[in-house]
Amino acid sequence: MIIGMRSARRPDRAAALGSGNPQTQAGEHLTAGTGWNVFSYLIAGMLTYGGLGWLISHFTHISLFFPIGMLVGLAISVGWIIYRYGRPFEQGNPPKGDDR
């Protein structure tokens, strides 16, 4: 569906991807679950570094490490999501995200 939208808006790029029937090509270019993958990354990042922060605050008795850890985790997730799914096609990067 998303690929179809892409080919309507940017036929040149759709052609560059070499996509014939979008549904047969979609296996190589994952689309449907990408949003949920992003969601998983957001939670996993906060959970990992929030957990780490919680552990540190538990042992040091400085409660600030827990929220800091969560924010750091969120930042890492967002950064990774942008790197993995948001790289512009024009720069010669293979499409990695939703808009494939």
């Binding site: 569906m1 689309t31 449907a32 679950g33 998983s40 990354y41 939670i43 985790g73």
Partner: protein, 266 residues
């Protein structure tokens, strides 16, 4: 019959001196239909079996003797099959994923029928709002896509495929996130999403149904009862959408995870 509904059915109306019998967790606990020793057979179990039977019987009727010019049941079956194939399976797995079509179809329609049980009069309970039915399903799916990952990439190869291609300082930061994503977040969100939606939906429907009954009396309450009845219809339609959507999301995610297990490119 659950506590709140029983109280309402027993003539508990507004201005009759009894408070609103609010639906609660009691609505999700049933007295056993029968018991064998310490095993209690309850309504959700019966509905789960009925759902499975409904799916089996429908697809049996549709495809046991397929004809070139399909009859009504076969047409309906084909419509469902093609919808799931084109909207769920192919976007994630592509054409090579057609091998998983029977599995995904069965899963989709089983969850859908289980969910729709909340809207069928007299049955009126979504099986998946009991988390005991959701976790085994999630565990099975979890086992499946891990198994497929091991089969496709080898034991260590599968774990290696979790590691994204990035410079090593970034890897130190990212690998814990990736591990937690695969081991905890994916199965957890898969299960909780389905359970919580069904749980909340059933509670919402119960609240307005009981409220309609409670407010119905020869007083100004009748006006409110009408409003509540409208909400029952509204939530009913909403739940119809949610039931379909949850079955769709669950199977879409499973297809995505299977695709992820079979080939993982960062």
């Amino acid at each position: 019959m659950t506590g709140a509904v029983a109280a309402a059915a027993g003539g508990c109306h507004i201005f009759s001196g009894c408070g609103y019998p609010a639906p609660s967790l009691d609505n999700f606990i049933f007295t056993p239909i029968f018991s064998i020793g310490s095993f209690h057979f309850t309504k959700p179990m019966l509905l789960a079996i009925l759902s499975a039977l409904a799916v089996i019987v429908f697809f049996w009727a549709a495809f046991a003797k397929p004809k070139l010019i399909p009859g009504r049941t076969q047409s309906l079956g084909e419509m469902g099959l093609l919808a799931v194939r084109d909207q769920v399976l192919r976007p994630a797995l592509g054409k090579k994923g057609d091998a998983y079509l029977p599995f995904i179809i069965s899963l989709f329609f089983y969850i859908l029928v289980c969910n729709l049980m909340e809207l069928i009069p007299l049955l009126q309970f979504p099986v998946m709002s009991r988390i005991g039915f959701v976790w085994p399903l999630v565990l099975m799916m979890y086992g499946l896509y891990w198994y497929l990952g091991f089969k496709a990439k080898g034991f260590f190869g599968y774990f290696r495929s979790w590691i994204p291609s990035a410079p090593w300082p970034i890897l130190i930061i990212l690998v814990p996130v990736e591990i937690l994503k695969y081991v905890v977040v994916q199965p957890f969100t898969l299960g909780v999403r389905l359970f919580a939606n069904m749980f909340a939906g059933h509670l919402l429907l119960s609240i307005f149904m009981v409220a309609t009954w409670y407010l119905a009396s020869f007083s100004v309450g009748l006006l409110y009862a009408a409003g509540s009845l409208f909400m029952v219809f509204f939530v009913f339609l909403l739940e119809l959408l949610v039931d379909l959507l949850q079955a769709f999301i669950f199977t879409t995610l499973i297809s995505t995870y299977i695709a992820d297990s079979l080939e993982h490119q960062h």
